[in-house]
Symmetry: C2
Subunit: 214 residues, 2 copies
């Protein structure tokens, strides 16, 4: 599963954040995306200029414009790649073999691991949605709707099979995704937990959420 | 309980966000804080100038400097008030009567309600921590440590009394707070759930998290 592999490895900021962009070519376009993530995360989208981003990538503003016409285009590209990965992770888990509990645990472990390992990228993706242009925003909202649907599908399967007891499926789906996404806010590479450890803890907590109290 | 009352009322953005600052006097200082929250939320801390904030409050930059010497002082004041309220909510719940389950549910309901009703303020408080000066940051980190301790105390009480089954108390405490805090990111006043409804859903999910699966 390529999405799981993308999220593997150490939690070392720079290297790992950059590894999220392997699919972006040519190399200059990729370098600019990595620079944009760093700048947006540090100062926010609105306080960052395309000149800042070009400088961070060791390029001229003119060289930047060959690859991206506007700052918003950079944000959209970052957001699109991040949301595509999230959707792939969740749909792969939903389509997997195994019981609903196994698939839900797989979704949580992989989704958490991505948010922990790529926390800088994930913060930009999550907190700068309002800065996207109208059309780009609609496209991203649709990807989020489909991510939500993948998790909801697993929970519904578990309810139908009798594995889960969930009075409010949409609300529980929202809470599961929210819990995983917020890992990007608090995760600290110098903290006491690795991405895998957070994933295992959260899979256990989420399985408790969907199971009736004794 | 004054903290619970502060968080009551409709989820209407402006009015409710402003109601968080009732304790700030004189009125001009309060108006500037409300303007700063709006500006930071819209454009980010680094893209906002004190001139922007003064303009938003219908005041001159000179009038702003009477109350706040720097933009960082405004952010610190907002962060301090937000964190003081969070700590009061959680310590009030931890010190309350009732079983551990009742106190944990109370903590979640009140904390969620505050993050939903004051979501704009809460986002600024949560996402702009890095912009605080070193000394202010240390002060806020200490308030967060005490908030965490209040929730951990309730969970430990429940484990001791046999109400809860929690293999990883620090990790579960972190997850409970994270789940509630992230309400500020996704809560939408035009959405289908009121702050009270989210609070009730989340209290149920958190009680499931601390209870062993059957």
């Amino acid at each position: 599963m390529s999405t799981a592999q993308d999220a593997e490895g150490t939690a070392e900021g720079g290297t790992n954040e950059a590894s999220a962009w392997g699919e972006v070519a040519p190399e200059a376009a990729r370098r600019l995306l990595v620079a944009a993530v760093g700048a947006f995360a540090e100062r926010g989208y609105h306080a960052t200029t395309t000149r800042d981003i070009a400088g961070r990538a060791g390029m001229s503003p003119a060289a930047l414009y060959i690859h991206y016409k506007t700052k918003e285009e950079l944000l959209h590209r970052i957001s699109r790649i991040g949301h595509d990965k999230a959707l792939r992770i969740l749909e792969t888990a939903a389509d997997g073999d195994g019981t609903a509990a196994e698939r839900l645990a797989d979704a949580v472990v992989t989704f958490v691991r991505w948010h922990a390992a790529h926390h800088t990228t994930a913060r930009v993706v999550q907190y700068e949605l309002d800065a996207l242009g109208e059309e780009h925003r609609a496209e991203i909202v649709e990807l989020r709707r489909r991510s939500d649907a993948a998790v909801r599908r697993i929970i519904n399967d578990g309810v139908r099979s009798g594995e889960f007891d969930v009075p409010d499926v949409p609300g529980t789906t929202l809470a599961v995704l929210s819990l995983c996404i917020d890992v990007a806010r608090w995760f600290n590479v110098e903290g006491r937990r690795t991405p895998d450890e957070v994933g295992a803890l959260y899979a256990d907590l989420v399985l408790r959420m969907v199971t009736a109290a004794p």
